[in-house]
Symmetry: D2
Subunit: 298 residues, 4 copies
């Protein structure tokens, strides 16, 4: 099948290679000319503009966007959509908020262009050798592109959820769960770390990753991380976040769902961004006021 | 190798069958005569008392206890230990608190008997076909029994942590992590459930279990649970707990480790044990007092 | 001073009476004619339309809005503002989101009308006998109206924070703190309730309200609530919420501030809205899958 | 009334002065001779041993212990109790765990000596000018000492809860609530601190302390703390804790009561004890493993 890919970052590049491995004919574009040159060297049809990309495809055109969420997606769509025809299909594979996808779906529908929102998981390795995707949008469009997803996914690794926005919604919640799982694993290792025992964390992660109830890819990755740095002494515990965890909590608040574990995972990430806190100062000052307890001076 | 097994519940029974499959010679005992009869019918050497079990073994004897944590373990040890000789080995495979194991290790050491504390994971299936174990205790004893563990475990599925108590400590923390992971998954599905979308939870669990970052045995089990009851309409959301999660939180408090996710997982279990709460009444009454907000009458 | 009041609900009505007690001349309007009639019977100048209200005031007019947050405020402003002149002052005393107040401030400023956002606390009693307010907006307008606030407030009970939106921001955070305090008190009483002791909650609330570190108006109200219903047996623990707690958490997420206590207070309110949960079912089903633990059937 | 006081720290010293102000005749002892000398200079009957203290009192003797919880209490009791007679009364006013008080009550009862467990709140100022106490123990003993409590307490500021251990249980839960309230207030100020507004925290604390729903002694103390250091720039946000908050959470776990707010308050205190965390490192390492997200190097 012929498909256009816009965005050749870590994920997009590997998806193209994955598609190519499965015999698909990819026209690839990125604002970064080096990325285009690099993938052209791999035998992919790299182009230097969105216009060119559209010209190389035949109706119904399939264009996969793998660009950062937010403005970049809208910028690409602004250039792309006027060049598409009714019946063409846009797959948006970034980490977009599902409400953005609902808006875009509606907007493209007015022009007769199909919009599939596609949450993508599995990391960079997954993109290359077996991706995991959750897709929302119109069934007519899905029928056309399903073979692509069958090829590039790990077995059972794609799911068409049948409603616009549902793909990015599933990805958002997936990431919320991911935050909770990661924090749970991390807290466990901190308990080990502060305990009276002297554990080999790599070996602990290995045994927990084999046959236990908590075996998981995240535990395998934990093992891998400790194999490189047994006590993680080279890094700081600063936990950045990229949005979906926050969106999950915000959505939960809107739906009045109690999600304490996902919420606390997120809040601990924020907490990790600073070495000292204002709330800590207030509590310390209060303890001093009522009980004369000593404060730690700066 | 010859080994005695005391306790033929779900876990013990399956461990015996697992040992037997690997050519080990098991002498099996349980207070429940039916269990003994049942396993004898499978060709295992069932006995009717701990005394008899000890007699059938040769020094250095290896006796595996798979009985409920707490008093049952002490009761068995009270009968068993006086009949053992220096150099014999007791493996305690239940969900005991690691401090109990430290106490027992010390007590048996005085009599020259080795005590290995062994945390066991992987559920009933694991016990039967490939268990996951974390073991603490004396290296001399471990050297003798390691071949047993190699045989009955899933690959990479056992770890000798090298200090008395370390096995049960690892199992305790494993379960703490398990609580957090389960609650994270469960919260995610509740967000789906309350959302504007109409998801097929079994299919969602399947795609999340294949190729995603959150793929895990727990996600596979989630898929399995939804395959039996698509909306879990037949059951109530009452979340019981069996101790290790609580111990993990208590230990974290003693070590002054912040474990918000594990703690909240535990607290939500307690919350689930009741339909209404006293704290809810107090808040509702207060809102009524200061703002005249309506309360829900019983 | 002459002032118009739009909105004669619980809060607005009592504020008018409070203003009247302090010699101010109030023109009062509400969509509900009965409220207008009732307050007219108290000797207040009740009017039957916003147009009429504006006509009775002299420039610079001062109009206080005490209507529900959201659309009602915008609806009133739509009718009111075109009838106002440059230099007139609108005080918006409802529980509005501070971003709405920023928008309205900007909008009215274009017409030369001052907009003061005013967070109001202290409950119905406070409105009547000594209110607590936090005000944002332009200092020129504040200078004019400060005497009004001095009269109707409890001592030290008003604060002009000096920037548009700051009043409603302070009120929002005030309510976030309120959620946390209420939940803390409520959790404490639940611990008492489940304990081995047989406490008299009214007396406990009384002693905690007198001389202790946690003495507070909320503790006084707790005493009052228990004086009416010693074990709160007549009500259910359903904890509704009216928005500001949620806004506080959302704002904290936007600012990347860890607010675990305020967040958990909010989530426990959501949790209280249902007797059973979907996340509970998922956890119960999982425990059954891996450990064969019994589930509670519906 | 004549009473012996053992322990002349911040609390004990001020309680003696408070008792003296109300005409009571206090015999005072402390291991620290300087404290005894200092209070003797105030006209109090300071003694140099527990033996001497007992000799100066007449049956039924009333001895108040105001020494640190734990071993110091047991040490004093070991010396004191053999010198007491049936019918004498020991008041233990420290921050002891209620289970210790139950044990001590039982132990003293065997000798016919009454033991009243007395939780003390209100800080150092309270001890001096109007204390708040919660008392457990035998009603016969309470009847004798109630006049003392009436004198030294703020109005409504003492409560006899009627069962051994109940006094210290109430104090424990009081402190749990205190943790939650303090953290709620502190989180609110952190939201202000990170916001787009430029607040004067002292003035905010003042307005919140006058007429608002969250007015409380803790808010008054917050105002006082900000009056000394407007942005708390001189101190670090290290939040120590002295036990009762932890005991409250442990007790809640034993009673299976969900206390998320009190628990999170405690965990944030532990979190504040370190600048970096091991769990943060694990999460950061995992994000790097699956998504190639950059870590912060040390």
């Amino acid at each position: 099948m012929k498909i256009g890919m816009i965005g050749l970052g870590k994920m997009g590049y590997n998806l193209v290679m994955n598609l190519k491995d499965h015999g698909h004919d990819v026209v690839a574009y990125d604002v970064n000319e080096e990325s285009v040159a690099k993938i052209t060297a791999e035998g992919v049809d790299g182009v230097s503009s969105i216009e060119q990309l559209v010209e190389r495809l035949e109706a119904p055109r399939i264009v996969w966007l793998m660009v950062p969420a937010g403005k970049p997606v809208d910028d690409v769509l602004e250039t792309l959509v006027p060049r598409l025809s009714a019946g063409d299909i846009v797959i948006e594979g970034g980490n977009s908020h599902y409400k953005e996808s609902l808006r875009r779906h509606k907007h493209l529908k007015e022009k007769g262009v199909y919009f599939l929102d596609c949450g993508t998981s599995g990391g960079v390795e997954g993109a290359r050798y077996g991706v995991c995707t959750m897709i929302g949008g119109d069934p007519e469009a899905w029928e056309i592109v399903e073979p692509l997803f069958r090829d590039i996914s790990v077995e059972h690794g794609y799911h068409f959820a049948g409603q616009p926005g549902a793909g990015h919604f599933l990805k958002m919640v997936h990431n919320g769960i991911e935050y909770g799982m990661m924090q749970a694993i991390a807290e466990g290792f901190e308990v080990l770390h502060k305990s009276e025992f002297d554990f080999d964390y790599e070996k602990v992660a290995r045994v927990w990753g084999h046959g236990s109830v908590i075996r998981s890819w995240l535990m395998d990755l934990t093992e891998r991380a400790f194999s490189k740095d047994p006590k993680l002494e080279s890094i700081k515990g600063v936990m950045h976040s990229s949005g979906e965890g926050k969106w999950t909590v915000e959505t939960a608040l809107d739906l009045q769902v109690a999600t304490p574990v996902i919420a606390m995972s997120l809040l601990m990430r924020y907490r990790s961004l600073e070495e000292d806190t204002f709330h800590g100062k207030v509590v310390a000052a209060l303890r001093n006021e009522f009980g004369g307890h000593a404060v730690v001076k700066k």
